[in-house]
Amino acid sequence: MEPQVQKLMIKFKLDVSDINKLLGAGLTTPKLIRKAALDKKIPAGMSTGTKTRLETKFAKKV
């Protein structure tokens, strides 16, 4: 497993399939993921509740 994937899994408490969806959307770093969450642009199709959890968690925290 790539170190980049491992770190994102730990940082955001997500499984590898969700991380791959983020990477596929170009969200390759914590900075980009937080910005996408703030803008409500976390990709759809992730595990149940994940999109909502991230967008709620980082609603005011970029």
Binding site: E2, P3, Q4, K7, P30, K31, K61
Partner: protein, 317 residues
Amino acid sequence: MPAGNVLDRNAGFAKGQAQMWGFGLDTAIDSHSYGAPGSKIFYVDPNNVQCTDLGNLGEDPIVPLATVARAIVLCRDHQGDTIVVGANDFWSYAPHNRATPILESVVIPSTKGGIRLIGVSSNPLGVSWSPAAANGVALTVHAVDVLIEGFAFYPGILANCTGIVVEWSGAVSFGENVTIRNCFFETALDYGISLDYSWYAQIYDNYFEGIAVAAIFNTSVVGDPDFAHIHHNKFFKNVLAISLPTTDNSFIHDNLFMEAAGGTNNMIDLTGGTDNLVANNFFSCTIIQYDTTCSDATSGAWLFNHCSDGSPVAPPT
């Protein structure tokens, strides 16, 4: 004993010499190098008249290297190699005998993991080290498992400088597991230590004084320096001391903050972080001011911290 190696306050290196700083402790040079069979010590001493990067191999302290950059080139990846940088008395008020500080902007590349970079100084501040030019960084770490100790990072007359940058991009830089200890970060640096997505940093027993922007800073171009362990540091009159917003899972304890009591998030700022522990720190502000100088309650547990009028029960908001 060769000329230049008499036992005075500003002595150079001598073969077999007991380490001046940390001898018998875990900070001694031999504890770094002897633990790894086959490891090498490379000596750097720009104040030695026989120093040169052209021909010297750096393993004989009598004929050392002139630059840290050359020593890094000679170091091998994860072989326990240590770079020992000789004392200079740049800081001394007395007439100088070894007046040349380190004047370099050096990068430890990702191919040089496990290097120990040790300043052996005859004063408690450490071996003086300035970046090579304005807007410069003295030391940039792109490798894992690097240890840095015994340096006094200062900008001199140069503007907008940084002491140490540690970066992890997952592409060209893998700066992680860095240890920075027993260093001094001096007035008018913009940043003391700047961390970007560099996890597991150990930062302890350092002194930060008068840093113009932030002593320990989360650059967050890529991500956060999670899992940091920051303890037993002293912060004195910095604009921001520990500024690590959105950082998670870090342990910050037993630090002393002598900072502006009326500041905002200027002592410890973990806004947006989670699962941190901030404990047993000492702040130069009142309990009421603690609510503003630090941030914030949602970033983790804030326990047993101390202010000028007692110990706050509630975490800062």
